[in-house]
Structures are given as structure tokens and as C-alpha cells.
């Protein structure tokens, strides 16, 4: 086994860890964090493929490295949007858990918020 293959296995393990955390944690911010771990694992595997593509005097395949850079930035944009959504959810529903029961229990109109909020139609 060489370094690149080892890091590929690390990336696979990270993806598994991230997926487990994404499903199991009730608190949505920890889900977002686990999602980022999952992403890091996937990017690591892409980086391993890039490393194995070392040729022509370069230590890695630059096209794939450029794609990974793009991926990291887009993942950050998605995380920022997800966190903003979560903060708004916490502000209106007073909960950070996505569990249906928590939402139904907490759904009450908050003064000053959008008048259409809190009545988005229960999914029951």
C-alpha cells in the first residue's frame, strides 16, 4: 500500500463517519457538520485520484485538483445557506431539531415574524 491508497481509505472512512453523523444526530447543526465531514472524505478520494495522476513533472493531476477547489468552495456556499436556514428555523420554531414531533410542538407565531410563517401547512 502506498500513501495515496492509504489516504483513499481514510477518505472512504471519513465519508462513512460523516454519513453516520448526518443520519443520527438530532441537532441540525451537527448534521451540517457531519455533512461537511462527508464532503471532506469525498474530496479526499478525488485528491487521491489526482495524486495517482501525477505525470509530466507535476505531483498531481491539476484538472482534478481544480475541480476539488471548486467543490470546496461550493460546499462552503451550501453550508452557509444551510446554517442561515437553520438559524431562521430556530428563530421561528424555537428548535434546532428536524424531528416532526418537535416542529409540531413548537409551532407558534412569533411577534414580528413574517405573518405567513408558522402556518406553512402541517405535513401530518
Amino acid at each position: 500500500m502506498n500513501s495515496a491508497t492509504w489516504y483513499g481509505l481514510v477518505g472512504a472512512a471519513l465519508a462513512g463517519i460523516g454519513l453516520y453523523g448526518l443520519i443520527v444526530h438530532p441537532h441540525a447543526l451537527r448534521k451540517i457538520l457531519s455533512f461537511n465531514l462527508l464532503g471532506a472524505g469525498v474530496f479526499l478520494i478525488a485528491g487521491v485520484v489526482a495524486r495517482r495522476g501525477a505525470a509530466a513533472g507535476l505531483p498531481g493531476d491539476p484538472v482534478l485538483q481544480g475541480l476539488v477547489i471548486t467543490g470546496i468552495i461550493v460546499a462552503f456556499a451550501a453550508t452557509a445557506l444551510a446554517v442561515a436556514l437553520l438559524l431562521r428555523l430556530a428563530e421561528t420554531a424555537h428548535t434546532a431539531s428536524l424531528a416532526e414531533a418537535a416542529l409540531d410542538r413548537q409551532r407558534e407565531p412569533v411577534a414580528g415574524s413574517d405573518p405567513a410563517g408558522g402556518r406553512t401547512g402541517s405535513t401530518g
Binding site: N2, S3, A4, W6, Y7, G8, V10, A12, A13, A15, G16, G18, L19, Y20, I23, P26, H27, L29, L33, N36, L37, A40, G47, V48, A50, R51, R52, G53, A55, A56, G57, L58, G60, D61, P62, V63, L64, Q65, G66, L67, V68, I69, T70, I72, I73, A75, F76, T79, A80, L81, V83, A84, L87, R88, A90, H94, T95, A96, S97, G112
Partner: protein, 320 residues
């Protein structure tokens, strides 16, 4: 001991450490501890990227993946502290845990099998990139990839950043539209943070510009420089040397779209000059790319800082 064995031992250590920190971030009792673990993980991952021969990716991971994402989640965990108890009190469902474990094991196993089955000799685009780079005038093949070979990807990525910001802003309360993001910060004007910010800001700006210009031939680039600028602005806001801008200001909106707009304009000009969308006529390639990157670094810095700052939470007139 030969250098390859030492390198492999180092890689084993880095990989195991990264996995350990990731497991800690997964299982930490409080969200704050988990986020701190995540930031440490990001920095370790940057080291791993260096070991994989990808210094540009290492810079991006340390700055955006670890730094800005960590800052974002740290702010959120502070705001969400009141919801922690309720989330922790939720009943644990062993059925869900088992399914999650199976799913995680399947995915991890499948990816590991794929990694072990990668073809050898590995297919690569490196020779093509090296052959095409001199035409762009850039010595860093990753920069040539981002700005020339896969320029459409970069353009779309900048547009995605602006779209994400529009999404974040759309969460504003109706009566606060046009206001300032984030709460007002408390900072002692004679304190340590202000001293640090005052010292670091000029150094940091020079460093960001350095990253931009050195990125043409060595690891660096406009995204990394833009991240440094965003971090500096956020530091100034935290130290109360500046305040978050009201989001309806023209100069702000100008700089948000200036980067993608200039990039699109250059692309269309390429069509007009017969070199294709986002093509560059050869003797003009490097000056054009540099001009686009100069606008891009400011645009990216502003967008990233505003993404971290969040939707407006104070009315426009609420300045210190």
C-alpha cells in the same frame, strides 16, 4: 530508513489523527466542542492535501474548509445554545442508529473497494495541462485549469456564491430588509482584539494581494486571497473597527456582481474575437486573466464575508 518509508509512516500518522479528530467531532457532547474539533480537522486535512501534492487545495481547505466554515458554525452554535438541551433530550432510537451504521459501513466499504480497484497506470490529464499552460502565460497549472481550461466551472462557481448569498438574504424578516447583518459586536476599544486587528489588517491585505499575484506561477490564487480578505473584514467587524454594511447599498451590490459580470463580459468578448466563449487570444491571455482575477478577489472576499455574516438582523440606521 529511506525517505519513502518515513513518508509512509508520516502519512499513516496524519490519516489516523484525522480520523480520530473526525470521530471526536462526531461524538463530542456539546456542539461547541464538535465545531472546535471540526476546525482542527480542517487544518489537519490541509496537511494531508500537502502530502497529496496539492498545495492549492491545501490553501483552500485551510482557509475556506476549516477557517470560514468553522467560523460560520461557531457563530451558529453560539446562537443555538438554547436549543441544545432539547436536542440532547430527544429519545435515542436504536433502529435508526443501526440503519445509519449499516448505511455508513456500506458507503465506506464501497468507496474503499473503489479506491483499491483504481486502474493502474492511472489515467491523467496532467500532460495535457502542462502542454496547454504556456499558452495562458501561467506557470501554475492549477491556476491555468481554473482560469482557462475549466473557466466555465469557475464562472459558475462565482455565480453559485452569489446565489447562495441571495438565498441567505431571502431569509430576512420583512421589516428588516435593507438592514445590517449580524448582531452588533461588543469589543473593548483598548483591548487585545482591537490591537490584534489593527496590526493584522495591513499585513493581511498585503498577504491577500500577494496570494493573488503569486498564484499565477506558484500555489495561491484569487479564491485564497479573497478568503483572506473576507476573514480580515470579519475580524474588523468583530473588533468594532468596522460594521456590517447595510445590504441595500449600491457599492456592496456592485462588488457582489462585479466578479461574475466581468468574467461573463470577458467570455462574451472571447466569442466576439473568435476564440470561443471564455477563450483568450494568446498574447493577451495573462493580462486578461489577471484583470479578471483582480476584480474576482474583491468580489469573492465581499461575498464570502457576507455569507458568514448572514441575513440582516438590525435596521439600517443601527450603526454604532
Amino acid at each position: 530508513m529511506n525517505i519513502v518509508a518515513i513518508g509512509l509512516a508520516l502519512d499513516l500518522a496524519f490519516g489516523l489523527l484525522a480520523l480520530a479528530v473526525a470521530v471526536f467531532a462526531l461524538r463530542a457532547r456539546t456542539t461547541y466542542a464538535a465545531v472546535v474539533g471540526f476546525v482542527s480537522f480542517g487544518v489537519l486535512l490541509a496537511l494531508v492535501w500537502f502530502r497529496l501534492g496539492a498545495p492549492d487545495v491545501a490553501l483552500t481547505e485551510a482557509a475556506i474548509g476549516g477557517g470560514l466554515t468553522g467560523l460560520l458554525m461557531l457563530n451558529a452554535s453560539a446562537v443555538l445554545r438554547a436549543t441544545e438541551a432539547a436536542a440532547a433530550a430527544e429519545p435515542r432510537r436504536p433502529g435508526v442508529r443501526l440503519v445509519a451504521l449499516l448505511a455508513a459501513a456500506t458507503v465506506a466499504g464501497g468507496l474503499a473497494a473503489a479506491v483499491l480497484a483504481l486502474p493502474s497506470p492511472a489515467p491523467t490529464l496532467a500532460p495535457l495541462a502542462v502542454a496547454g499552460a504556456p499558452a495562458t502565460g501561467l506557470g501554475n497549472p492549477v491556476a491555468a485549469t481554473l482560469m482557462a481550461f475549466r473557466a466555465t466551472d469557475t464562472l459558475l462557481e462565482m455565480v453559485v456564491l452569489v446565489l447562495a448569498l441571495v438565498g441567505v438574504w431571502s431569509l430576512t424578516r420583512d421589516d428588516l430588509w435593507g438592514g445590517r447583518p449580524g448582531r452588533r459586536h461588543q469589543a473593548d476599544s483598548k483591548g487585545v482584539l482591537v490591537f490584534f486587528a489593527r496590526l493584522l489588517l495591513p499585513v493581511g491585505v498585503v498577504f491577500a494581494v500577494f496570494l493573488l499575484f503569486v498564484g499565477a506561477d506558484q500555489p495561491g490564487g484569487a479564491f485564497q486571497g479573497g478568503t483572506v480578505l473576507a476573514a480580515l473584514w470579519l475580524l474588523a467587524i468583530m473588533a468594532r473597527l468596522a460594521d456590517t454594511p447595510a445590504i441595500d447599498q449600491r457599492w456592496l451590490r456592485f462588488w457582489l456582481i462585479a466578479g461574475p459580470a466581468v468574467f461573463v463580459a470577458v467570455g462574451l468578448a472571447g466569442l466576439a474575437f473568435g476564440v470561443g466563449f471564455l477563450g483568450y487570444p494568446e498574447p493577451w491571455a495573462k493580462p486578461i486573466i489577471l484583470a479578471v482575477e483582480i476584480v474576482k478577489i474583491v468580489s469573492v472576499g465581499v461575498t464570502l464575508a457576507l455569507l458568514v455574516a448572514g441575513p440582516p438582523m438590525r435596521p439600517r440606521g443601527d450603526d454604532r
